[in-house]
Assembly symmetry: C2
Homo-oligomer: 301 residues x 2
């Protein structure tokens, strides 16, 4: 695969893994984000500033764009008005990209675009009726970009990310917070954990996105493991590795009533059309994650 | 009704009629647009320039916003990339409005948000799957703003306009072009005209929007007559008034295969909940439109 790809959010949780995955596929990889990312030609730009994002595209003239940047501040991003700013920035980025000769745009979507309640989310049949501002902003962006791409000859794919975990995840999210509590033997009040979620190792998610960038597949593509497990099972599996199981206080917090019982990715497009296979199952994925935190020399904080 | 309403696109086809309709309901009316509009306090600002739109909102601090401005250049707006710029401007306008204490946002939607093919478009049951970039941009904007409004306590209504006609419509559109051709006895090549469309006099559409602004109704509301007629019937009715029927060349142009057989508004929310009744039926509406063009002293050009 030849091509010059710009990765937005290249220094983020997914981006750091996407850069080497794209390089391994033969792409010339350029990155933009808050901080430098190893393996990418680095560009400093604030994508929320119109002049900066346009100058960046004009300078690099990428043939492919992997657009990961978005507001992802834990606890805030579901309802933040910054979602609207990222919609605007993404639409403008796509225009600048197409104007500079860009051919293929791959955006980062989310399982939160779907109407929660289906047993398993299927790209073709599950309705998109997001329950959150974050989900609505991603869903709306995709709808508009699909129509824009159709009238401009742009290839557009949309990788819908489910629940990711792995090295480098930021504190404030389930897995790093649980690892920290278990490692420091600190109480971890949590829900009963019966809700089932589809967890995928972040390196696999990044590899799937790289495969999607390199493919000709268009439209939404779920990026998940294809098998949801109870959140309790994930936390118990961490405690097996770290100890401190007695600090997991299941049921101490209520499950938000808006949270569905199951969020699971249908993966027939990802596996059957894109041709992706994950490297990590949950056992290897959690081993890798716990080992990474240990190698940092301290628990996540 | 007391309140201070800002009308964007106040000098446009719908806006010129919306300003007096809002004044009649007791609103203090401010307008922004390309040119001055009688009856409104006038403000010059380019809404596509972030600093200008934010300064406008900060200066006026409207309690209500009727957002009509959008790219509407005939023949171009269905596919123009400017649609993306108007999405971004609209999202930012809503944020600035909410930040300045705004309470109620009424946006101009379109029948092109619906999946074309249903016999009659119903707000609650007809799927929104736009066939065009224009439709997708309006649909996406509405979806995002609905989620934003839900998380910010903003009242959001969305008036979906169907086919409007009447005084001041710009050349390049069906009714003024047909009036010009008939008036000047010039050939008017057109489709066979069997497709049925829901036509509403622009003053009624503006009155419906004013009623929607003054109401507490939220969500999408179709703004149409509720009865679609064959396009041929409309053109024949113009020829009855103007003469020149022999210049209507029905069937000279193919109907775009993407154009559906019927576009008709279900109006039970507009009539039953908002409580709106149109003043013009088609006979009076076309009389009024032809009389207006005659009073201009010349045919539309």
């Amino acid at each position: 695969m030849s091509g010059r790809v710009l990765v937005t959010g290249a220094a983020g949780f997914v981006g750091r893994h996407a850069v080497p995955a794209l390089r391994a596929r033969g792409f010339e990889v350029h990155g933009v984000g808050r901080s430098a990312s190893p393996g990418a030609d680095w560009h400093a730009a604030d994508l929320l500033v119109p002049d900066e994002r346009r100058a960046l595209i004009a300078k690099i003239r990428p043939s492919h764009l992997l657009h990961l940047a978005w507001d992802a501040e834990p606890g805030r991003y579901w309802t933040s008005a910054r979602n609207l700013d990222w919609v605007a920035a993404s639409l403008d980025l796509a225009q600048a990209f197409a104007a500079a000769g860009g051919r293929r745009f791959v955006g980062a979507g989310t399982c939160a675009e779907y109407e929660w309640g289906a047993a398993r989310f299927d790209e073709a049949t599950t309705p998109c009726r997001p329950a959150t501002l974050y989900g609505a902003a991603k869903d709306g962006t995709r709808r508009i970009l699909e129509a824009y791409a159709a009238t401009n000859g742009l290839g557009l794919a949309w990788g819908r990310l489910f629940y990711l975990y792995g090295p480098g995840e930021r504190p404030g999210r389930l897995v790093p917070d649980a690892i920290r509590a278990l490692s420091t033997r600190t109480p971890f009040p949590t829900t009963a954990g019966h809700q089932r979620r589809d967890f995928l190792h972040v390196a696999d998610a990044a590899e799937a996105l790289a495969a999607l960038v390199a493919s000709d597949v268009t439209g939404p593509v779920n990026i998940g493991s294809g098998e949801a497990i109870p959140v309790r099972e994930l936390l118990d599996a961490l405690a097996v590795r770290i100890g401190g199981a007695e600090h997991l206080d299941f049921g101490a917090r209520p499950l938000n009533p808006a949270e569905p019982a199951v969020i699971e990715a249908g993966t027939h497009i990802l596996t059957g059309v894109v041709g992706f296979r994950p490297r990590y199952d949950l056992v290897r994925g959690l081993d890798d994650t716990v080992a990474w935190w240990r190698a940092q020399g301290s628990a996540p904080d």
